[in-house]
């Protein structure tokens, strides 16, 4: 199959597909300019009607009468069942109409078998695309259409493209949403920074410097531009470069988040697996009650307790963070990891319990595999899918929850940066902090989704079915 022919088949498929119908029409607009003119000029010869008339004789009078009788009987039964009391004449007319319809349908099927199809405009366009000369000539202005069609045919690429567009939309949406919230705020940053005794001129001057006097859409556009070009200007208070300070604070938060995630996985996976393998045992109850306690403990209080126990009484770890001392990271990591570990353990247990009763596990048992082999080679792989999703979602909550943990341990990460800036409110700094965290989370979830589609055969097959 040559490229034009391939395109032709894709185009014909897409033009009857409901989901992308409008998109195809819009994308192929430039193409239609030419093909419509050609269609009008050429008036493609179609022998469909002629054939139709010829083939009418294919059906015998008997056959037709049989169809009529059949429909008539149906109509009559319907009439009696619903007590419609239609006249004999109406019944006959309806039956006749249905019989003719049926005949046409049968005819169409027969002709289709012989390769005779009605010539429509979309089919004409498809044929044109199939011609190499036309295809190469129109390649430039129908490029979008062709790449769209090609992308659609590759379900995986299509899926990735879709997720990318969606993520982009979410990121822009988050930025616009957070900006709007801050924009409609009744609080006045200028008053807060300049003090109560500031003159109206000073306030106006402040607003002019930071562009706060401009209309909503202009400010929104500037903020979006700033976010995506990594240039958010300077903060209201302190006049430091916002992007630079966010960039310097992000690594600490990320390190803590990643290590606590690692700690959580190391603790939670075995705990969840043991609980699932021995449901309703002492181990199960103990692990699950501890996990629920871990979920229920407020992280700032846990932080205070840890400081009280490990810093003040035992003096093992320092209570506040310092960049030079890695020991000072231990307590925040433990605190942040607790609730994550609890969630992962609960998810592992329920996911494992579900998998462990599947037929293929029974088969593995019947094969004589040991429990260890079954778990590590068969059960865990499938049980991991929902667990990884949960981990991806938890990562988001963790970056958000970092704000509180960071405040308790006095870590100057992105979370405490946001909290510090909210009192003014320092609009660009807040916007940058929240949106960059949201972007980080969206990207993590995007990567997880794509990896899934790549590794999980079930997702791939459903993608193909859809496409």
């Amino acid at each position: 199959m040559t490229i034009p022919e391939f395109m032709k088949s894709l185009y014909l498929k897409a033009s009857i597909h409901r989901k992308s119908y409008w998109l195809v029409i819009v994308l192929s607009l430039p193409l239609h300019l030419i093909s419509w003119v050609l269609y009008r000029v050429q008036k493609p010869e179609t022998n469909y009607i002629e054939k139709l008339n010829q083939e009418t004789s294919l059906f015998s009078e008997q056959q037709r009468h049989y169809w009529f009788e059949d429909f008539y009987r149906q109509e009559k039964a319907k009439d009696q069942a619903f007590q419609l009391h239609q006249s004999e004449d109406t019944l006959r007319k309806t039956a006749q109409r249905l019989a003719v319809q049926h005949e046409r349908e049968e005819l169409r099927k027969k002709l289709e078998k012989q390769g005779v199809v009605p010539q429509t405009y979309s089919r004409f366009t498809g044929d044109l695309i199939g011609k190499p000369s036309f295809f190469w000539m129109t390649l430039i202005f129908a490029f979008l259409l062709y790449s769209f069609l090609a992308g659609r045919s590759q379900s995986f690429a299509w899926f990735v493209l879709g997720r990318l567009v969606q993520t982009l939309f979410v990121i822009v949406g988050v930025a616009a949403f957070v900006f709007t919230i801050l924009y409609i705020s009744p609080l006045d940053p200028a008053q807060n920074i300049l003090g109560v005794e500031s003159t109206p001129e000073q306030v106006a001057n402040f607003n002019r410097i930071y562009g706060l006097d401009q209309p909503y859409l202009v400010q929104l556009w500037n903020s979006l531009q700033g976010l995506f070009t990594f240039d958010l200007g300077t903060s209201f208070a302190g006049k430091e470069n916002i992007t630079a300070s966010i960039a310097s604070k992000f690594p600490v938060t990320l390190i803590i988040a990643l290590f606590s995630l690692l700690m959580a996985i190391i603790i939670a996976l075995p705990a969840g697996i043991i609980s699932a393998l021995r449901p309703n045992s002492y181990w199960d109850y103990t692990f699950m009650i501890v996990a629920l306690i871990g979920l229920s403990i407020p992280s700032f209080w846990q932080g205070l307790l840890f400081i009280l126990g490990f810093s003040i009484h035992l003096q093992w770890f320092p209570a506040t963070y310092s960049t030079s001392n890695w020991l000072s990271l231990v307590l925040p990591i433990a605190v942040l990891g607790t609730s994550i570990a609890a969630s992962i353990a609960r998810m592992t247990r329920s996911s494992m319990l579900e998998v462990i009763h599947e037929d293929y596990i029974v088969t593995a048992k019947a094969k004589g595999l040991t429990e260890r082999q079954i778990v590590s080679k068969h059960a865990l792989k499938n049980a991991m899918i929902p667990i990884i999703t949960v981990i991806g979602l938890l990562f988001g909550g963790m970056l958000g929850g970092a704000a509180i943990t960071e405040k308790v341990f006095n870590i100057s990460g992105i979370g405490s940066y946001i909290v510090d800036k909210q009192f003014i409110p320092d609009i660009p700094a807040l916007l940058g902090g929240v949106v960059y965290i949201a972007i980080a989370i969206s990207l993590v979830n995007l990567v997880i989704d794509i990896l899934y589609a790549f590794y999980d055969p079930r997702i791939r097959s459903t993608m193909k079915k859809k496409g």
Binding site: G173, I184, S296, V419, Q422, L430, V434
Partner: protein, 498 residues
């Protein structure tokens, strides 16, 4: 060999045996806790009241171990718990005096053979009531009490008496299928329990009315099975107990506790250690922590409920519309909600509070907005499943409008997952409330709220750690209770997800 496996199975199926195990383990754990706390390492002194508690709990634990052995023998030899063993559980009822809810709850479950949900409701209604009265009684050690104190306490005692009577009546007359007709009268009276915050009493009343009228046997059976599952789930029922206890306490605190103790500065009693007059000590302004925590429960419950109900309503509606109509409507709504979903709840709340200022109403709104997408997703998934069912087709064939199909057919049938979700997220809302207050972004600092108390406590961590410890324990227990209850509710409503 076969005999042994049968015995093991029988023991596994025996509710009493499992409860007994659970009870002695928890009582022993508490005894251990008291033992550790009984010696003050800094002053090298023994705390006598704590030692007494340790002894009581240790004796209780041993007694329950003895009962566990008897139950085991009974179950293995006779197949069920014998009358004599049940009689031996009566002394255990006294453990309520020591505040041992595990042992007293177990005792109530063991003394009667007739384990209907109504009986459990009645016994836990009494337990809750006695706990509330016990905690309220600490006010007697204060220099003065509020004017309504005696009246309110009298009312609470009357209610406790009523519940005690109901325990006997339900054990005698209520069966799984029905209750005698005259039970309607106590049933209606018991509905008033809601005014003193006793959910168990209210549920008991409702359940009795339902059974006494017995109009619709299938609905009675459904109700009975659901609550039987929940009441048999030990952790769920304790969760429900603690929630009811806190709720009831915060309802009656208006008439029993003096708000001035919680908010008025008293410079003659700054940072006192726990004593009879100040059961949990005082803070840096001499305010009674005990009263502050009790009034803080009100705020936590109100904010927790409001910031769960609001997003559940909004998200539920959006999810229902999205799931029912599908196609473009679905895409538009869900893509817009994706934006909200991408921002972590706490950060969104901080941003909203930054924009509109920190107060209770803004806090509720801020917490609600972030929770909308999860509810919408839950609702959408359920509705999508339901809208393919035959009864929806039937309603459509009968000419019902879309709105009436959604709100009369689909929504009532998809409430279960929403209720479970809501119960499990109230805990999160309570934590978020106190976390934001701790950061100074939540409830106004002058209002006694658990996060605010903790904020004060964090500055006195080294010298007066109890200021930070007690409110934290309250938050944890309340959230834990909601989680346990939510888990139990989920298992009862949808066994598949377990």
């Amino acid at each position: 060999m076969k005999q042994i496996t049968n015995d093991a199975l029988r023991l596994k199926l025996s509710q009493e045996y499992r409860n007994a195990h659970f009870t002695w383990i928890f009582t022993a754990l508490f005894a251990l806790l008291f033992l550790v706390y009984s010696f003050d390492f800094s002053t090298q002194q023994v705390r006598l009241p704590v030692v007494i508690f340790f002894v009581i709990y240790a004796v209780t634990a041993l007694y329950v171990v003895f009962l566990t052995k008897r139950i085991r023998n009974d179950v293995i030899r006779k197949g069920e718990v014998q009358k004599r063993t049940r009689l031996l559980a009566y002394p255990l009822l006294l453990t309520i005096g020591a505040g041992n809810i595990f042992a007293s709850g177990f005792a109530f479950a063991l003394v009667s053979r007739n384990q209907t949900p109504e009986y459990t409701f009645a016994s836990y209604a009494l337990l809750t009531q006695l706990f509330v009265i016990g905690v309220s009684a600490f006010n007697l050690f204060k220099p003065y009490v509020v004017d309504t104190f005696l009246l309110a306490m009298g009312l609470l005692l009357v209610a406790a008496l009523l519940y005690a009577v109901m325990i006997v009546l339900t054990a005698r007359f209520v069966t799984a299928e029905s209750a005698p007709k005259w039970m309607l009268i106590p049933g209606i009276i018991l509905l008033f329990s809601l005014f003193i915050g006793n959910f168990f009493g209210f549920l008991l009343g409702y359940s009795l009315i339902k059974k006494a009228r017995s109009k619709n046997p299938s609905s009675v059976e459904k109700w009975h099975t659901m609550w039987l599952k929940i009441t048999r789930n030990t952790m769920a029922i304790f969760g429900m107990f603690f929630i009811t206890f806190i709720f009831s306490l915060s309802v009656v605190s208006e008439w029993i506790f003096d708000y001035d103790f919680a908010t008025q500065n008293n410079y003659s009693a700054i940072l006192q250690n726990p004593s009879l007059e100040y059961p949990l000590g005082t803070d840096d302004f001499g305010r009674d922590l005990f009263s502050r925590i009790v009034f803080g429960a009100q705020i936590s419950l109100i904010v927790g409920f409001a910031s769960t109900v609001l997003p559940a309503l909004v998200g539920g509606t959006l999810g229902a519309i999205s799931g029912y109509f599908g196609r473009t409507t679905d895409s538009v709504i869900m893509r817009l909600l994706d934006i909200l979903y991408a921002i972590p709840g706490i950060l969104l709340a901080i941003a909203i509070i930054a924009a509109f200022g920190a107060n209770t109403v803004n806090l509720i709104i801020a917490l609600s907005v972030g929770a909308i997408p999860t509810y919408a997703r839950t609702m959408r998934a359920t509705v999508m499943q339901l809208s393919n069912f035959e009864f929806v087709e039937a309603a459509r064939a009968l000419g019902a409008s879309d709105a009436s199909i959604i709100f009369k057919q689909i929504v009532p049938n998809s409430l279960a997952p929403m209720i479970v979700k809501a119960t499990l997220t109230i805990g999160g809302a309570v934590i978020a409330t106190s976390s934001l207050s701790f950061l100074g972004l939540g409830i106004e600092p002058h209002i006694p709220e658990w996060g605010n108390i903790l904020k004060v406590g964090s500055t006195y961590l080294e010298t007066h750690s109890y200021v930070a410890i007690f409110p934290g324990i309250c938050i944890m227990l309340l959230v834990l209770s909601f989680n346990f209850f939510g888990d139990g509710l989920r298992d009862a409503l949808d066994p598949k997800t377990n």
